[in-house]
Symmetry: C2
Subunit: 373 residues, 2 copies
């Protein structure tokens, strides 16, 4: 945890590497140790969460190695600790818990990227650690600019790797509430489709924003996900037993957070909205899915009921700052339900286990620091 | 124009009346003269614009008479002048040009209606002049509460009946810009689908908000609508000659205002958006229209491009106030293009002409004051 041991380590840094475009080739390899430079910090990675994008990259469907390199280090949902600060860095000290920011500005930065709003990058030339052009965080250590990390309170030492997925939710909820708040009524009821990490973090955030929350998934009542949802004070709907249209409260939902990426569900969530309701979309799935849609009904309902459907991607610097604050609030308010979102922790050497998802699994995490010891 | 002549008139007030649910029965009839009461004003109606809702009511598809009555006075896009003020009214004087507000609060007023935000009425029990439970404005005079009219500057004596359709646009543009402004970039390019009254008023408003505006319709280049669009400094696209997808500028649109209600166009407008683009829907059409939609593509594009589709209905008091101000600004900035939106003016006795719409027609207006003389 201190920089001493790290500095005496060899130049090879253990890392999970893949070859973009190649299926199933993720392996424990190594990358070269990076030198510290002015304005940068060295991080010891503590843990990295695994998500659907990582799985797609492992399938060869996605991912881009850094320029001139063949391999890409995987991982983007990291919790890390500062082990060394470069010259000129005054905002961070050794030992500070941080989350490194995934998306980095295009170069030269466009008007959005230069404001820390790379989620709105106007050129499309942004880079993303572990995804697009920059090595990811499943490695024992890395060096990044001090402006590319956001400090976390020590209370998040166990669950801080949930910060990055929470940033997605922060932005989505910000967008939904901004539109809803143009209207006169306070949002009261929220629907969350999908009890995965994004959906469950969304439920916690919406509860903290004062809403009554319904989470819909297809796991049975009494299952661990259902229990978790109910333990935090939200309602659980098993859509395979009672379609959510029947379980929805009278008057419909003010906010709906779509967190499955299963597009047909989008139209069902839309129809569950009440007057002035906002559906915010956060998930994507590949491929085609043709659906017969009564577009007149959709248009008419959206107009007459003053409803909206809003896409949301990635997150800006402010969403990281907000997520750090809210995740700490979750720990205070919801206690054991927050670490319970992490259903599996595997050492770096057994990273492949983290990709085998059981139906009741939520977030699998690779414990990089442990595995490297 | 003064109250003297009106006060000596008979008790029968000429009006265009229909029987809700009965097709083609609109006729010149009469309603009883109303007494002035405390807090109310008597209005001499100057002119009333005709819109698609009026046509649907004449077709028997829509409309509801006041409680206990068989007939409904038609018309809701009015320009009027105060001819008498009741006891206790201090905000309005005889001679004041006004627009009467169409939608009135539910009773007892819900939280939204009590704030002048009847467009968000939570009970659905709002009333609408000329549409739902209240007589409309195609009558020589009426008495309404002083709080049910918004004053207009004298500069709008010729075109003030465009205020009400402009309120629809004000709300729609407010919603689109609020969402776009969550992002970092200024909105630059707007698409308007449909060169009808709402579309063209939308084009003028978006020009006044500093955007470059493209209006798409199916009338040929050189047609009156195309000329009008170009005369105000917007671009005209004849979709039947060059599909708007080809005519759209690189980078797509930041704001799109859908003003046809033709639902398939909605998906085309959505696909014409750029990053962070917002499509706002204002039009509705009846019936079913099944369409094969690639819902994955729609979902993925909306998420990854941070796009939104937002319905917008009716308007609150603040939109009337904003519309009064902006319509006056249109007259100053666009000069003859504003009265040119009114392509037909017919006297009350020949109101039926106003429903025969030629392809180049924009807004037909019934000149109530003239016809009644």
């Amino acid at each position: 945890m201190t920089s001493g041991a790290m500095n005496s380590a060899s130049d090879a840094v253990p890392a999970i590497v893949i070859e973009p475009g190649k299926k199933g080739g993720a392996q424990l390899g190594a990358v070269a140790r990076e030198p510290i430079t002015a304005g940068s910090v060295r991080l010891a990675v503590q843990a990295v969460g695994v998500c659907g994008t990582d799985a797609e990259i492992c399938e060869g469907l996605y991912g881009q190695a850094p320029a001139g390199e063949r391999q890409l280090v995987l991982g983007h949902e990291a919790l890390a600790r500062v082990t060394e600060v470069g010259p000129g860095v005054e905002s961070l000290a050794v030992g500070q818990l941080v989350v490194p920011i995934v998306r980095r500005p295009c170069q030269p930065p466009c008007a959005a990227c230069s404001q820390g709003r790379w989620d709105e990058c106007l050129t499309g030339n942004y880079q993303e650690h572990g995804i697009k052009g920059l090595h990811g965080f499943m490695r024992q250590e890395l060096v990044v600019g001090a402006d590319a990390v956001v400090p976390l309170p020590e209370a998040l030492a166990e669950v801080g790797m949930l910060t990055e997925p929470l940033t997605i939710v922060e932005k989505a909820v910000e967008r939904a509430l901004a539109l809803h708040q143009l209207g006169s009524g306070e949002p009261r009821r929220a629907l969350v489709t999908g009890a995965g990490p994004v959906g469950l973090l969304g439920a916690l955030l919406l509860l903290c924003r004062g809403l009554e929350v319904y989470v819909v998934d297809r796991r049975p009542a009494g299952s661990p996900k259902a229990q978790l949802v109910e333990s935090v004070g939200a309602h659980y709907i098993d859509d395979s037993a009672t379609p959510m249209e029947q379980a929805a409260p009278t008057g419909g939902f003010d906010i709906a957070l779509e967190a499955t990426g299963y597009a047909p569900l989008l139209f069902r969530a839309l129809s569950a909205l009440g007057v002035n309701g906002v559906l915010v979309l956060t998930g994507v799935t590949g491929g085609h899915h043709e659906l017969d849609v009564d577009v007149n009904l959709m248009n008419t309902t959206m107009v007459l009921e003053n409803q909206a459907m809003v896409g949301s991607v990635n997150a800006a610097r402010r969403h990281y700052q907000q997520a750090a604050q809210d995740l700490a609030a979750f720990v205070t308010r919801f206690g054991p339900a927050v670490p319970a979102l992490i259903t599996e922790r595997v050492p770096l050497s057994q990273f492949a286990q983290a990709f085998d998802k059981a139906p009741d699994a939520i977030k699998s995490v690779v414990m990089v620091a442990e595995g490297a010891r």
